[in-house]
Symmetry: C2
Subunit: 584 residues, 2 copies
Amino acid sequence: MLLEKIQHPDDLKGLSMEELQNLVNETRETLLRKISHHGGHNGPNLGMVEMTVALHYVFNSPIDQLIFDVSHQTYIHKMLTGRAEAFLSPEHYDDVSGYTNPKESTHDLFTIGHTSTSLSLANGVAKARDLKNEKNNVIAVIGDGSLSGGLAYEGLNNIVEQGTNTIVIVNDNDQSIAENFGGIYKNLKELRETNGQAKNNFFEALGFEYHYLEEGNELTALIDLFESVKDKKIPVLLHIHTTKGKGFKFAEENREKFHAGGPFSLTTGDYLNSSSQKETYNSITTDFLMRKMQADPKVIAVNAGTPMLLFNKEQREKVGKQFVDVGIAEEHAATMTAGLAKNGAKPIWAVFSTFMQRSYDQISHDLALNDLPGTILVYGASVHGMNDESHLGIFDIPFLSHIPNIVYLAPTTKEEYLAMLDWSIEQNEHPVAIRVPVGSVKETGIKDQTNYAQYFKNHVTKEGSQVALLGLGNFYSLAEDIALDLETEHNINATIINPKFISGLDTVLLDDLVKNHKLVVTLEDGVLDGGYGQTVAGYLGNKNVKIQTYGLEKTFHDRYSASELLSENGLTKNNIVKNILNSL
Amino acid sequence: MLLEKIQHPDDLKGLSMEELQNLVNETRETLLRKISHHGGHNGPNLGMVEMTVALHYVFNSPIDQLIFDVSHQTYIHKMLTGRAEAFLSPEHYDDVSGYTNPKESTHDLFTIGHTSTSLSLANGVAKARDLKNEKNNVIAVIGDGSLSGGLAYEGLNNIVEQGTNTIVIVNDNDQSIAENFGGIYKNLKELRETNGQAKNNFFEALGFEYHYLEEGNELTALIDLFESVKDKKIPVLLHIHTTKGKGFKFAEENREKFHAGGPFSLTTGDYLNSSSQKETYNSITTDFLMRKMQADPKVIAVNAGTPMLLFNKEQREKVGKQFVDVGIAEEHAATMTAGLAKNGAKPIWAVFSTFMQRSYDQISHDLALNDLPGTILVYGASVHGMNDESHLGIFDIPFLSHIPNIVYLAPTTKEEYLAMLDWSIEQNEHPVAIRVPVGSVKETGIKDQTNYAQYFKNHVTKEGSQVALLGLGNFYSLAEDIALDLETEHNINATIINPKFISGLDTVLLDDLVKNHKLVVTLEDGVLDGGYGQTVAGYLGNKNVKIQTYGLEKTFHDRYSASELLSENGLTKNNIVKNILNSL
């Protein structure tokens, strides 16, 4: 097998065209074998096989510097840069991350997992090269989906302005995670349909030398194109049409389904273990919003490039104009939400915690400063969310809860969640964010009648003394576990509080607690620094009560086991009970 | 005077062309009279006189909805929507803010002070209109400078996608605050030079119906254009060439100087009280960076559209390629900084605290996750920074200090600042941010020899007992004042600590303090929630010591007096001394 002999991209240089084509076939087969067993970003990698081989054949990594946008399409790149074992041997499948990672290889310049960053990174890398008077090529590979992010546009602008060697490759497979949305995609379509000759050309308008390649899965065509632009002194843009899922018919036929996912059958194209019909917080949200939309044409859901969070394709067709996918453009989603709310619509913006990070100023300056009643649904904000260091959802509380006017809520059950969501959509006072619970659905069967316009009013679920436990959102059940242990094992009747509100304190309650409690314990499912517990500690610091705050260390935790990480951070019932007893 | 009779834009509808032209002249004269005495955004408003009159003549605000990007160009709009008095009567000059403000008028849809938001807001407003089946025009006015921000591109994309009435006006005066940078500006230039007929057209490429108007300061041409697109069912883009500073020759001739500024002489064009040669933290930075750059070609300063923060025009020419203005594109600035650092350059990104808000994910995901040694200089992070609610610099500590790997420093003197800056540029470990001091320069005359690679080591400047005062950055001198009062008036020998590090705690010191202190007091020049003091309180909460945390309430404070705001937030020596005495 040729692939087994490739330790470095230099090993490609001496291969014949026939051998290179064999390598293409081997890598695609290797890829299919791994992803069908292991899962991953399936379609994006299948489409990139030929391009990656051609890139490493023509350019000289790591002297020539390759930067892949999002970097979820770099499995072949990893195979060709000394990491083939992680794709050939099942026992080594987890040796590599799903993204580029400088800790794995010098051929990976950056850890990248969010979209639209590659061009700005390349612009910096190229500028540093120029300052050092070096001469290598800087190559950025960006998918068409990532072009919807404003940062990509800023990158394009500045690459042209800089004016020196930077090779921008637009890998156009006519698909984001789901369909593409936005004016740019009409132009990409025109360009594809005219073999790059359309009158209007977005890239030429910005000042790029532009090259179109229709056969983006043809090895020799790719090699010819790359050789023609290698070492150019000016920025060039290569618009290359590839097929997402190339070489696996089920993936070619259903590109949304095969963007990413777990193990699948090579013969039927079905995902294994995917037919769960169980209720989830996602499915609850979908059902609720569809009912709301039907009842009120002003209810509208907004999403930035991850529509399946709310609606599958069929559901999207059903809700029609009451759903907008703005492309991978969280900034726009946030600011558009402000515009919608201002003009009397009832917008709900659904966003993963990790991607919400792209919109701080839009939340602050557009939504919060204008104090507009939009709803943000924050998904995956938990230690039990995505666990790659580039996709953590645990920074949302410091990020969001200290922005003025934002009411940030943490439900603990289905009933609370739906009551909060309904209240938020109908209220007209403030921007409201809801930390969508992560984990299995908890149902009480009792309708939540809370008036959430009583801002920051906590719910005391069990009155006790000595110790008060504030269990925020996902960690409310941990508070219950601790209280039960304290009661049964140590005869301590702890107070249990469901704070419900993250972005403000129930100061009346806290003042009251001080009277018959020696210790207040806060539990939150996120980083400790800048979080909820520290705000409580700041408020109580000058009073006659001790405070223990529990949360995660401020680090980019990577591919962790949640239970181990919780344990390392002292977030276990036994540890907390021990600390409580020590403190009393 | 006609202007005095205009209470509502409807009052324009019956005027003849001659009267409208008289109104143009009156408003420009009124504008010049006010700004020459009061200061403000001079050039942008002078250029918008004719366009604003034409907009209100043709469209029907507030039924037709006008949204102005940044909204610093809305002085004429305010004059024509019931607020002329605030421009005619010096005693009413401060009745209006420098931006649109819904609290002032229903003709102002949003409070806006940051750039590139108008198109996304308009997209939301228009979508809500469509959901409600209403038919009004939605008009967004955006300057060419604001087009460099990625959010503007996301807005353009989505307006085209939506496909219904939205009138985008690009007010092209060929100038941002300073010069424009980026590929888009080459295209705008081509379009201006060809009367809109250039082969490449950025806006048409994105799918807009495009109209060019060369005479953007000609009232009748503007009226004709607006009437021709009013009530269109599809998005249109009007590219209108105006003259920044129109009608005041000094402003026309020096557009950067007259972007904004204090009172000036109408006869000489000189700013009053502007010739101060005193050393400031800005001038210190400029001098230091110019020396560093001369000594090391790898040192490079990055800025997003506010270059005068570091270098005036002459200085920019001098530093040449070692300075990059990326346009009003803070996201790109942050991510480019990561690229520069990765490839061996020594980047320093200078940014106002309020505008840094646009780049959370770029700081987190690109710079911090990759742990790259770029330097961020954070300007105006203080209660004494800009004081309009849309330009506050007081949220930086919760925003920045909880991102992993970021070393955020708070210098208290010139010597500390320069030592930190020099160390940061030369170190190779982490991203470092420095909170540039605000206020007059404090000089000790003694070189700071601190090794800042000893992360989070605080400096105990005075050892005492009972009370420990942690005075962060700008508020270190307040700690000194309090200590002096405690000593001289109350015979208490307080410990004074200069924390220097914002993003981490000196836990050895804090543990030690507990032994002979009853109270720890934190003082920070920013919002309290999510800030430094709360992190200290969280750490000390379970120990035998009380904590008092001082900072500002989490609110969008507006056009405040700093001393009053400090007093309202208990941030006075007398109040804090009183609280300390109560607590001991």
